[in-house]
Symmetry: C2
Subunit: 165 residues, 2 copies
DNA sequence: CAAGATTGACCAATCAATCTTT
DNA sequence: AAAGATTGATTGGTCAATCTTG
């Protein structure tokens, strides 16, 4: 019932043009940049960006490795999606799944030599993209400011989160 | 050969922390917000956001309708993706594809009554999301500024595009 | 039962090939 | 040949159900 009232409120909500502009700019920028980086990686013969992200997190976790559920939280992926991504990466020889000592239900994900290597090899290409598409487009302080605004939109809390400039 | 040199340059490129922060903030914000809006729409019994976008563009085009290739450009979709989306929307009864007079190769996409209606019905739910997730989080001038920065990143040109604040 | 993880069945996205008209 | 559009085959993503252990 409260939800219904809430929706009626929303029906009356006036959305300002700046709101729509910011929203569509976000959706478009993300689509365009993702398409660019995936294309750059593919043309260089590399796997998709998601593999890089996963390998980087696994590498950061050190020798103890990482549990799939931890990885899934850091990459913002649903559980089944994580499971299938690990399937592919394991088949490609970039990771291994070993039984977990402390918890009989789970495994630990470890990067293989090939996994470490391909992540390293991908970086120069990825960095080249980041330089062209991000770093050379706005000065550092404006990039910082952009990140703050975006984090504000992505934050879980409701209500406005102040930030200057 | 030039491409190879270019990649070597990139290998040396130093990526600043602000660059990485802005990039990951963009990727994360987009993922989180898209997941939220799709969930809101689905829970209200509506089709995905892409259908809304398509219906809105078709509606804006007026009675003459729109060619699939025009729609595809506005929504940033590949041609085959557009074709399959129109398949689904046509099967759902929201659009019709009619033969094009001027160009025998193509069709014109028209919204049906049901299509116009569902777009209208989706709006209050969508607007509610936009209010919670965007409008109430940052003041109008900061949203404007955010949009400008994002457009700068998404712009096709290479080289920095100035913008203040 | 809840948490970690996987799987079968289904839907959507992608690639390459195709078809028609300009 | 190029442009508009579709299609068969494959891959990837999603849902619901399942399995195992805490």
């Amino acid at each position: 019932m409260q939800l219904h009232l809430c929706e009626l409120m929303h029906a009356m909500t006036k959305i300002r043009p700046e709101t729509t502009k910011a929203w569509t700019a976000l959706m478009r920028a993300n689509r365009i940049l993702l398409e660019r980086v995936e294309s750059v990686l593919k043309n260089a013969g590399f796997p998709p960006l998601g593999w890089y992200d996963a390998l980087l997190e696994i590498e950061r976790a050190g020798q103890e490795g990482l549990r799939p559920f931890e990885l899934k939280e850091r990459l913002l992926l649903p559980q089944y999606s994580m499971s299938r991504l690990l399937d592919r990466m394991e088949k490609a020889g970039y990771i291994r799944r070993v039984a977990c000592d402390e918890d009989g239900r789970g495994q630990t994900v470890i990067a293989t030599e090939a996994g470490l290597r391909i992540r390293q090899d991908m970086w120069p290409v990825y960095a080249g993209f980041l330089a062209d598409a991000v770093q050379n487009r706005l000065p550092p302080d404006q990039l910082q400011n952009l990140a703050e605004k975006l984090r504000c939109l992505a934050a879980p809390e409701t209500g406005s989160c102040d930030s200057d400039s």
